[in-house]
Amino acid sequence: MSDDSGGFLATGLGRSLANNWAAFFLLLMLVVFSMTGQNFLSIVNFQNVVHLQTVPLLLAAAETFVIISGGIDLSIGFVMGLVSVSAARLMQAFLASGLPVGWVIVLASGIVLVGSLIPGLINGIIITRFKVPPFIATMGMWGIANGLALKLCQGFPVAGLPDALPEMGNGYFLYALPGQFMSLFGKPSWFPDARVRELWRLIPFSLPFILAILAVLAFALKRKRFGRHTYAIGGSMDAAVRSGIDVDRHVIKIYTLSSFLAGIAGVFNIFQTGIGNYTTFSAMYELFAVAAVIIGGASLSGGKGRVWSSAVGVLVLAFLENGLAISGVQPFYRYIAVGVLLVIAVVIDKLFPNLR
């Protein structure tokens, strides 16, 4: 629309501002909410936000790969629910058969993680072999996964799982009561549960977990052939074909990866909540994941996007919700704010088409 090539954008600051506006917006938001909300600016709050965003971060990472390739995956939210419910059912079955708890958790998680490759594999095959648009193929999978999950759990969350799950999923590396004691990897058993809020709890297990996954994915996207091919396919399908990339194979891989990440999210969901949850319609995990990716600077037409930027997009949405709530604003403004942010993201993308 406008050509700013010689103006402000040409300066280094201008470029990085437009390139990373979501990150700057996040910083600005943190500053504003620190002033408007009591206890917003605290390690406890920040830890909680990031811990609760583990699932959205995983889903946004999944969506990043798919969107860069020019597709979309609407099924991840419900695949996550299906994985969560089937893992819970498996654990129940294994527990009933008398396996030790440790084995139950490891076996069930392992099996569902392998199983979580299947929806993505099917998506990829339908998209490449039958030339069904990704939107439709993954929407069909959304229905199928949702139905299967509801069938498995009969419409109720699956409870009765080992207590070790939420303890691990919500554990911290360091527990301390200032001036009295410090303990690693778990609350000392003599300390009463009722007073657990007085403890300092630092670095949730989920933090290094999600950082490691994001780092691996970012590395694969930026430095590996897998990533180069993903960008190539999204940039120009024809050029990708002509340069000898096995496009069909690669697209199948991308959807399988996406579904696998949704599977990890599903397993993590069990660790976090201690029950197997199906996904409700109003949760719209997949749409918020797409929103985060777009706010992070990707484009629905493909070829653009970064894992860390998508993570920033997730945090923008998360801190928006958290900050508004802490500042005493009606939580419903959050939905409106998401819409406005998305449009801003796309308009910025349109105004400055030459950014990466």
Partner: protein
């Protein structure tokens, strides 16, 4: 809206001649609907009667209206994710308005009419904004309408503060759940109002008012899409946007109109919802979105635009409605419906790929 499509496909000769494939491609949906209906008629007790046909149409009106809305947008090559929450928004706004007008001293019929009409006008706003974003700012339809989904959701919740919108006059429920004829035993026929009968006496209710209203609206829009210049322009835009511009079609204005129309139909569905259930809530239409889009795709429209008709979309919507009621009446949990709709959706698009019929 995406680049996965590589243009022309190598079509395997699954079934001999192209003519045969086109014949099947054009008709399998109708055959599917008939077979499905026949299956439930034989399999499920009490399915094959007038009453279940009425129930099917009565509870299907929201899907029918949203499917038509979605069809117009999909024919242009776009998508409208906001219709479900526009429906919820309209259900709340209409109730708030009608209650307000009633409190202001208007008689109930006037309050209903005026409140409904104002809601339909307000209901144009989300669509106009969607259309403006898509046509004039170049925002992808997926993003623009998802944003609008968020805005409608937020505004709706703010209006009702997390509970249902309620307080409609009794007349609304009478219209929303009313029928044209009531047949009581002994040859008593009553129009519009339920005859006074003793408790336990069966009254046969014939033709729900809402269904007739919906049928008229769907018919009008079928005509608009098929016969009007507006409709021809929409097909042209979906077929090839550049060519449409060169042919002198005001593409941006038409897109604005299409999204406004989609949101208008969604608000109509919302007002109907308010009359049917005498309550309004933000997520009233959240789960219908999948059904609406699936109906359009099963009806043979292409995600890339340029094809699709109202008639076929209705067949698609009926396939889903029959499935839902049939499963419900045979005592199968409705979970199976989601699986089957998903599977039929994919199957339909594969069929469309391999057996495309030559049509608009």
């Amino acid at each position: 809206m995406n680049t996965q499509d590589t243009g022309t496909l190598p079509r395997k000769a699954l079934l001999g001649s192209g003519a045969l494939r086109a014949f099947i491609g054009g008709r399998w949906v109708i055959a599917f609907l008939l077979l499905e209906t026949a299956y439930f008629c034989f399999r499920t007790e009490g399915f094959a009667n007038l009453n279940s046909a009425q129930i099917l149409l009565f509870y299907g009106v929201q899907v029918f209206l949203l499917a038509v809305a979605e069809l117009f947008v999909i024919v242009t090559g776009g998508i409208d994710l906001s219709v479900g929450y526009v429906l919820g928004f309209a259900s709340i706004v209409s109730i708030k308005l009608i209650v307000f007008l009633g409190n202001a001293g208007l008689p109930a019929p006037l309050a209903l009419l005026l409140g409904g009409a104002i809601t339909l006008v307000i209901g144009l706003v989300p669509g106009l904004i969607n259309g403006w974003l898509v046509a004039y700012l170049g925002v992808p339809p997926f993003i623009a309408t998802f944003s609008m989904l968020g805005v409608c959701h937020g505004v709706s919740e703010l209006l009702i503060n997390g509970i249902y919108a309620m307080g409609l006059p009794q007349l609304a429920a009478d219209i929303g759940n009313g029928h044209f004829f009531y047949l009581a035993p002994g040859g008593i026929v009553s129009f519009f109002t339920r005859p006074e009968v003793e408790r336990g006496v069966q009254v046969l209710e014939v033709i729900p008012i809402i269904v007739v209203v919906t049928a008229i609206v769907v018919g009008v829009f079928a005509f608009v899409l098929r016969r009007s210049r507006f409709g021809r322009h929409i097909y042209a835009i979906g077929g090839n946007s550049d060519a449409a511009v060169r042919a002198g079609i005001p593409v941006k204005r038409r897109l604005l109109g299409v999204y406004a129309l989609s949101s208008f139909l969604a608000s109509l569905a919302g007002v109907v919802y308010a009359f049917m259930y005498v309550s309004g809530k933000a997520d009233a239409g959240a789960s219908i979105l999948l059904d609406a889009i699936a109906a359009v795709m099963i009806g043979g429209a292409s995600m890339f635009g340029g094809t699709g008709t109202v008639g076929r979309t209705m067949v698609g919507a009926l396939i889903i409605a029959v499935l839902e009621l049939g499963l419900r009446m045979s005592g199968t949990p409705t979970f199976n419906k989601y699986i089957l709709v998903g599977a039929i959706l994919i199957f339909a698009v594969v069929m469309e790929r391999y057996m495309p019929e030559s049509r608009k």
